[in-house]
Amino acid sequence: MTAHTLSVLVENKPGVLAHVAGLFSRRAFNISSLSVGPTADPRVSRMTIVVDGASTPVDQVHKQLEKLIRVLKVVELEQDAAVERELALIKVTVRPDLRADLLDVAAAFSATVVDLSADTLVLEAVASPGKLDTLLARLEQHGTCELVRTGLIAIGRGSETITDDMPGHQPMAAVAG
């Protein structure tokens, strides 16, 4: 899969997520993850969308998103020019004979134990999606019994920001009566 990461600033208004999600189903765009959260400006939310470039024309995704009235800006983040992270919570079975190995693996991936029961523990891991996949593969032999991932979030490296050169969240001119 050739993953493309789109950062999308949207107006923080009801129905926006439905419009974006609806666009993906209507145009048969395949997305592998979508995450949404607030930004420093309470009027604006930020979505990070990962598109499978092999099955979906990324340029079309970009342009169709820009056509949505509530979408303020769409930026494609190039992998090496961006920091990409994902958080996972992983519930793993603890077998007494493999306990040491499990903790070694967690340590190697800087994953922390955030919950413990008699025979399971929950790991919290923050990493790039690739590294997270490696961790999950490694945990497979211990028996992963439950997994939740946030989906990717990403931010451009360097001093530029996504809101540079934005049209600005200024109201447009009044209509003539």
């Binding site: 079309q60 049209p167 109201p171 009044a174 209509v175």
Partner: protein, 583 residues
């Protein structure tokens, strides 16, 4: 001044210059109907909400202004969905007002609740559920702004009952708050210059004209471009009338049922200039084989259309009203510096194709009545001076092919969605918008029965629309596909010609009802219909049931596989496959 949300809605519509709305009331929208009584706005009471939607579309097609419809929540809104989808596909400027259950009830499965913004999101340019009365003036003004600017389209405003009832302090004009709405700016002059150079150099150019030319009001600019470049012009189903069919450079319609000349010219072109067209599959046939020898210039107001289906060599994003005159100017400069374009041989070749493989049918004097004959007689008797509205099917293609369109906004149909039932209400809307023009709907017997109830609306308004039913007793277009692609295994396409009796139906609805069964009566019946000025007229034309629409490019095939049909000999078909000129 204190007003209710409902009063604000009506005042907003008045302030935006709305003079007519098509609608049907119900519980949730009731508050809006009270101030509407004393408004300057004419409300036209339809018999089905789909009719309100298509009428608004017909009004918009005919006038270039926004069509407005107003319906209640739940079933009123869901009945409107087809018309919204139709308007979205054909980029028709339309504003739909829907009632909604009170905000406190939303989400409770309240009586006549539906998730209208959810249902209509994929078929509108934008929609909004308004949750406070103060928001109404801006929401309505924004809806009109969005519907009419950039690539036009339908916008829906969903108004809960309590929002319509609540009071607030009126103020106008509102401030539009659309920070994410982008309207393409000026077209790129570099791209225009490059397109002009390509047009000046091309030896086999074709102007592939879509509905955008009509929407942007650029038909005159198109004429100038065609004349300076001497490039043949093909007008899509959405663009019939953008360029006069009577002009020597006119090739007619391209695509699945296009003329041979238009289809062949695109296939053989060395340059295709797409103007407000979107490389629809019904035009391109198998995409990989479409105009494969041609470089492509694509000018469109919607950046997302660029490269969606065909990657252009030069893209010009912007309003054609700006692009076309500048492109013409740029070509004119090149002509002044380096001499005229050299397309004479190409124009002669396309003219040869027109002569060799015309649209052909045979009307025997004692044989079955051919739909093409009726269209040609209508075209002749009106001199093209009419607004023609069509349904969807064989009759639609026969009109698009055989009527000689000479003016923009003289052709109205459902292009992208292909909505049976479009014609009757759309013709009503067109007549309301252009009361002094002749409006003629040509409808299939299948289509007509889907929205015939609006005859009542037309009759009560005294609209003199002519409804010409091409009664072939079949879902003819589907029958044609079963004939050609399912070895004549006809399945559920027979309607019969006798039920309903369209003459009696017309009379029951307060319309004039006429019938025409043979070719020799066509002129007299048409003249009789055209003479009626105070009520609608319905004519039951008993057209040939086995008539096909040709030429035809079978679905999924390359346009080079165009089939001329039974009116041509095998030798002619073979010559056509070699694209030879034989006449």
């Amino acid at each position: 001044m204190q007003v209710t949300g409902a009063q604000a809605l009506v005042r907003s519509l008045e302030s935006l210059g709305v003079d007519v709305v098509f609608g049907l009331p119900g519980g949730a929208i009731l508050p809006a109907y009270d101030p509407l009584r004393s408004s300057t706005i004419q409300h036209i009471l339809v018999r089905h909400e789909q009719g309100a939607g298509h009428a608004a579309e017909g009004y918009a097609w005919a006038t270039g202004r926004v069509g407005v419809c107003i319906v209640t929540s739940g079933p009123g809104a869901t009945n409107l969905v087809t018309a919204l989808a139709d308007a979205y596909m054909d980029s028709v400027p339309m504003v739909a007002i829907t009632g909604q259950v009170s905000t406190a009830m939303i989400g409770t499965d309240a009586f006549q609740e539906s998730d209208t913004t959810g249902i209509t999101a994929p078929v509108t340019k934008h929609n909004e559920l308004v949750t406070s009365p103060e928001r109404i003036p801006a929401a309505i003004a924004e809806a009109f702004h969005i519907a009419t600017t950039g690539r036009p389209g339908p916008v829906l405003v969903d108004l809960p009952k309590d929002v319509l009832q609540a009071e607030f302090t009126w103020s106008w004009p509102p401030v539009l708050d659309l920070p994410g709405y982008r309207i393409p700016g000026e077209p790129d002059q570099e791209m225009i210059a490059e397109a002009a150079r390509m047009l000046h150099r091309a030896s086999r150019p074709v102007l592939y004209v879509g509905g955008g030319v009509i929407k942007s009001g650029s038909h005159e600019a198109l004429m100038e471009l065609a004349e300076i470049t001497q490039a043949p012009v093909t007008t899509t189903l959405m663009a019939r009338g953008a360029f006069p069919d009577t002009h020597p450079l006119a090739l007619g319609m391209p695509g699945m049922h296009g003329t041979f000349a238009a289809v062949a010219a695109l296939q053989e072109a060395d340059l295709v200039v797409a103007l407000g067209a979107r490389f629809d599959d019904r035009v391109t046939g198998r995409l990989a084989d479409f105009a494969s020898k041609a470089k492509v210039v694509h000018a469109d107001i919607d950046p997302a259309e660029i490269g969606k289906n065909r990657s252009p060599d030069v893209a010009i994003v912007g309003d054609l009203a700006a692009t076309l005159p500048r492109l013409t100017e740029a070509v004119r400069d090149l002509v002044a510096d380096a001499g005229p374009t050299d397309t004479a041989a190409w124009v002669e070749q396309t003219a040869g194709w027109k002569r060799s493989y015309p649209l052909r049918y045979t009307q025997a004097s004692d044989g079955p009545l051919k739909p093409q004959h009726v269209v040609e007689r209508l075209s002749a008797l009106t001199g093209g001076d009419a607004i023609i509205v069509a349904g969807v099917g064989q009759h639609q293609m026969h009109v698009a092919q055989h009527f000689a369109f000479t003016k923009p906004r003289s052709w109205i149909n459902s292009g992208g969605l292909g909505t049976m039932g479009f014609a009757v209400p759309a013709a009503m809307g067109a007549q309301v918008g252009r009361p002094n023009d002749l409006v003629v709907a040509i409808d299939g017997d299948g289509c007509f029965q889907m929205t015939a109830q609006e005859l009542a609306t037309c009759a009560l308004l005294g609209l003199p629309v002519k409804f010409l039913i091409f009664n072939n007793g079949f879902l003819g277009m589907v029958r044609q596909w079963q004939e050609l692609f399912y070895e004549e295994r006809y399945s559920e396409v027979h309607l019969g010609t006798e039920i309903p009796d369209y003459v009696k139906l017309a009379e029951a609805y307060g319309c004039v009802g006429l019938r025409c069964e043979q070719a020799s009566d066509v002129d007299a019946v048409l003249e009789k219909a055209l003479a009626v000025t105070d009520v609608p007229t319905v004519v039951d034309f008993r057209t040939h049931d086995a008539e096909g629409v040709f030429p035809m490019v079978p679905a999924g095939h390359a346009n080079d596989d165009i089939v001329l049909g039974p009116e041509f000999t095998a030798a002619e078909q073979q010559a056509a496959a070699r694209k030879e000129v034989i006449a």
